[in-house]
């Protein structure tokens, strides 16, 4: 098997870790005051997020929320990890992972990292890294899940992907993306669908970049971060739904203040076959 999980060798003291983990979890639940984080910096899906309490929302319903224990300056998230068929694999509340489907999944609880892995193929479903106090941001998050509507969401360490090839999915709108001032990320690059044809019309979100409105297909992503400090890309929704053949990719951006929002989803547009999306068990 190409990605053999036989190479996963981190389990010898699993029982001990699990015991410590339960103790810590109980302590966290009882003694800490978790609130929605308003002020923080983090690398989420390879993008720099600054002060975005809700990472992703659908119909104004939060899907991934950043939480903070203000007393102890700890960060965590609220999110659900779903399988392709909609089954709940794990819930994460206040940064504590509760495995709902333990079969075939391995949870590594390291001092500074939580990692949930599909034991069969090595896919990481959730990876949360707490950075040291002197780092320029507080944590790194990557995860792979399916949204309640069935759309796959990958907060990959190098990029964010919403949707996948050949799926009918809704238009992502209301996205406000901003490269963070003083951030370390080197470039701004946004890859949007270029051949979205619906009812004979080309339907692409418009990107407002550096004060000018241009179709996304014409948006030229500047390579050098320093040339465009503080500039803003806005993706607005002229059309709430449209048919596309490619997923939405977001790379190397700074996202500030507002969540990635997805508008209402029409269920009859879903359920179309997907490529390269093996079943997540």
């Amino acid at each position: 098997m190409l990605y053999s999980i036989n190479h996963l060798i981190f389990a010898p003291n699993f029982q001990f870790r699990r015991y410590v983990y339960k103790l810590v979890r109980n302590f966290l639940t009882k003694h800490m005051a978790w609130i929605v984080a308003q002020t923080y910096k983090a690398i989420i899906g390879g993008c720099f997020f600054s002060d975005v309490p809700i990472i992703l929302e659908i119909d104004k319903q939060p899907i991934i929320t950043v939480k903070e224990d203000s007393q102890n300056n700890l960060f965590g998230v609220d999110a659900d990890i779903n399988g392709k068929s909609g089954d709940l694999i794990a819930t994460i509340r206040n940064g504590v992972i509760e495995l709902q489907k333990a079969d075939g999944h391995v949870l590594h609880e390291l001092p500074n990292r939580q990692l949930l892995i599909n034991a069969e193929d090595g896919r990481a479903l959730f990876d949360f890294k707490s950075m040291p106090a002197d780092a320029s941001y507080s944590f790194e998050l990557s995860l792979h899940t399916y949204l309640p509507c069935g759309i796959p969401l990958s907060l990959h360490p190098n990029r964010i992907r919403i949707g996948c090839t050949r799926i009918l999915r809704p238009h992502a709108h209301g996205v406000i993306l901003e490269n963070g001032r003083g951030g370390e990320r080197a470039a701004i690059e946004i890859v949007l669908p270029t051949k979205d044809i619906y009812d004979g019309k080309i339907l692409v979100p418009f990107v407002e970049f550096a004060g000018s409105n241009r179709p996304a297909t014409e948006a030229v992503a500047p390579r050098r971060f320093n040339e465009h400090l503080g500039s803003t890309i806005r993706i607005t929704a002229d059309n709430p739904f449209f048919k596309i053949n490619e997923p939405l990719y977001v790379r190397n951006l700074g996202i500030s203040g507002f969540p990635i929002g997805i508008s209402a989803i029409r269920s009859d547009e879903l359920g179309v076959s997907e490529e390269n999306e093996p079943e997540t068990k």
Binding site: L2, Y3, I9, L110, P111, H144, P157, R161, A186, R251
Partner: protein, 333 residues
């Protein structure tokens, strides 16, 4: 494990080994998010071109005294234990048969390793790899990439504090000495002890001892904060000599050789192409293995930064490589 040993005795040996191993593993669990492999320009190009690391036979690592140091630590503790258990003839016999070098490495089985440092900007390493400039530190997310390496490796933190080294070996030796003393109390040194109990304990002991020896380093090297990616060829059934010999011959075919300072150095290749493949699949949530690359002090850092960015982009066109420069001035080399 020999079938002539009782189930209970076998269970006790395993329980002791598992317990010790658990504590040992815990000391290696805080794996940093990225570890740096220092190399020269030629090494960097070779690693990127072939998507693989060389894992050098530990006996041929740059500093031969590294393994000797670990052996000395073990020797010192064993001598101390000999005195403590001088009243137990079985323990003395056990000690007699034990030599710190009686590890897997002297048994025709070599251990291969690639070294990594926690710090990506170490003057001592720049001096070692780039005396005229041209050293590079490849920062890798080992924890996420390791499952996709072509070889089944373990990652071990090097321990520099002498007191911690001694404490590990001491606890470990004490556990087995006490076990033998308890098992043979008021018993003669008969066939079951000399030919079954002691050899079996020796086997387990030497396997664990190898783990310690390869992780101990002199305190003077502490600033390196080194981790070792370790690989050893496995035998299905070590007691089946014929099968073992055949497997050994197979293993030898995989060994390659390179020259270093006039010496011929054995190594094996560890390929990470699958880790790159996994990073390109969104659903794997696995980062591109090279998460950062630091250019050592050099005359032309800007030019190198450009060429290395291009080199990394060739492997993964859709990532933005993080290529940093060491702030250390060249004149310090």
């Amino acid at each position: 494990m020999n079938p002539k040993l009782s189930e209970e005795t076998r269970g006790k040996i395993h329980a002791a080994a598992d317990d010790l191993l658990q504590k040992w593993n815990a000391s290696h669990s805080a794996i940093p998010f990225r570890l740096y492999h220092y190399t020269s320009a030629d090494g960097l190009i070779g690693i990127m071109k072939t998507s693989s690391f060389f894992m050098t036979d530990l006996k041929y690592m740059n500093d031969l005294s590294e393994l000797q140091y670990g052996t000395q630590v073990v020797d010192a503790v064993l001598n101390q234990k000999k005195e403590e258990y001088s009243s137990s003839p079985a323990v003395l016999e056990f000690m007699k048969r034990l030599t710190p070098t009686a590890t897997s490495s002297s048994d025709g089985l070599s251990i291969y390793s690639t070294s990594f440092c926690e710090n990506g900007n170490l003057l001592s390493q720049w001096r070692a790899y780039g005396d005229r400039g041209g050293g590079y530190a490849i920062g890798i997310d080992i924890f996420r990439s390791m499952p996709f390496f072509s070889r089944l490796c373990t990652l071990r933190r090097v321990i520099y504090e002498r007191s911690i080294q001694e404490s590990f070996v001491s606890e470990f030796t004490e556990r087995f000495c006490r076990f033998i003393a308890d098992e043979t109390r008021d018993k003669p040194l008969d066939d079951s002890v000399l030919n079954y109990l002691i050899p079996n304990v020796c086997l387990v002991f030497s396997q664990l001892l190898t783990e310690y020896i390869i992780c101990f380093k002199h305190p003077d090297f502490a600033e390196e904060r080194e981790w070792r990616l370790v690989f050893a060829f496995q035998f299905d059934d070590p007691r089946n000599l014929a099968k073992r010999e055949m497997q050994r011959l197979d293993h030898e075919k995989e060994i390659q050789f390179r020259s270093y300072s006039g010496n011929v150095i054995p190594y094996v290749v560890n390929n990470f192409a699958n880790a790159i493949g996994a990073s390109q699949d969104d659903s794997y949530c696995t980062p591109f293995p090279v998460v950062e690359l630091v250019i050592g002090p050099t005359i032309n850092p800007e030019l190198n930064q450009r060429s290395i960015t291009a080199l990394l982009r060739k492997l993964a066109p859709d990532i933005t490589p993080v290529v940093l420069r060491s702030g250390i001035p060249l004149r310090w080399l």
